[in-house]
């Protein structure tokens, strides 16, 4: 039996959706027929171009919203925009994030605050408002982007790992709280994925990581987006509070 995932009539919202894993999620959800809204801190004109491109390519409605996920008022405005435009919310991909690597002794307070503000506070604000919109229809799927380092840690990424571990706690707690309202909350923990976040890695460092991946390759944003699609769809309708590693076997 083959099952084509069809998200027609659904509305998905992706934070940090202009590039990297977020962009792959936007395109994958649109390809499955979902209308899509996404936010980013890029200029509104750029977001409008991306949204227009996606709407045309996949024949869905798509809007880009400029929003800094750290700012409660901006997040609220973004959700109001989504609600006014589409009148519903079925899927949240809580993806916006930042990674700054540094040895513990060299990690600055500003760097810690920035990662906690964006990766944790931003994710919680979006989780909160998305769940309120989803509660109106008594259904929805929230997918939080954590990281393999949130599960097993990584030298030189103490603050980043802490922020991504926080997402795991938020995921299981929110899953428990929101399940009676028909809202599922799961997390994806990507391994080493080829995005802008890896710009700081030189070829030698990348080679070293690839050697630790059982599948012998760096992951692509599409690898993560495919799992996000599954979690967004009704194929995962009895699955909540789970963390799915998308890491090519780094943990086995």
């Amino acid at each position: 039996m083959s099952t084509k995932i069809d998200l027609s009539g659904r509305l998905s919202y992706v934070t940090g959706g202009a590039r990297g894993i977020g962009r792959a999620c936007v395109e994958t959800l649109a390809d499955a027929g979902s209308d899509v809204a996404f936010c980013s801190t890029l200029d509104q004109a750029i977001l409008d171009d991306i949204a227009g491109e996606i709407a045309q390519k996949y024949s869905v409605s798509c809007v880009g919203i400029q929003c800094d996920v750290r700012e409660p008022e901006q997040v609220k405005r973004a959700f109001k925009h989504v609600n006014k435009t589409f009148g519903r919310l079925d899927v949240l991909i809580n993806n916006a994030g930042v990674m700054k690597s540094a040895l513990l002794a060299m990690t600055t307070p500003d760097s810690i605050r920035e990662m906690m503000d964006i990766n944790v506070t931003g994710a919680l604000l979006n989780l909160q408002l998305a769940s309120k919109l989803m509660a109106r229809k008594q259904r929805g799927s929230i997918i939080n982007l954590s990281s393999i380092v949130g599960r097993v840690g990584s030298e030189g990424q103490v603050a980043y790992s802490a922020s991504k571990a926080a997402i795991l706690g938020a995921t299981t707690s929110a899953a428990k709280e929101l399940a009676p309202m028909g809202i599922r909350v799961n997390a994806i923990a990507p391994g080493f994925v080829d995005t802008d976040l890896l710009n700081g890695f030189d070829a030698e460092a990348k080679d070293a990581v690839v050697k630790s991946i059982k599948m012998n390759r760096i992951g692509q944003p599409q690898d993560v987006a495919n799992v996000a699609l599954f979690l967004a769809s009704d194929l995962s309708s009895y699955l909540t509070g789970e963390v799915i590693g998308v890491d090519g076997g780094m943990l086995i």
């Binding site: 609220k76 959700f79 909160q128 309120k132 509660a135 109106r136 309202m181």
Partner: protein, 80 residues
Amino acid sequence: MEFDENKLRTVFADALGIPEADVIPSLEYNTIPQWDSLAHMRLVAEIEDAFDIMIDSDDLIDMSSFAISIDIVRKYVNED
């Protein structure tokens, strides 16, 4: 949209599963079994949907009676 107290009363009655006649200004959160924390979240979702507003978490916590809810919802409807 104009604020309509009777509409809010209907939303309360539907969300909490109680007769409209029981939705009086002195009705308070956690004083009847039907208005517990889970019902409060459902109630807020129904109010937001009915009045097309988004209530801040501070106000959501303050909505501890029907009387206070009237003031809070009216504020959001008027500012939209």
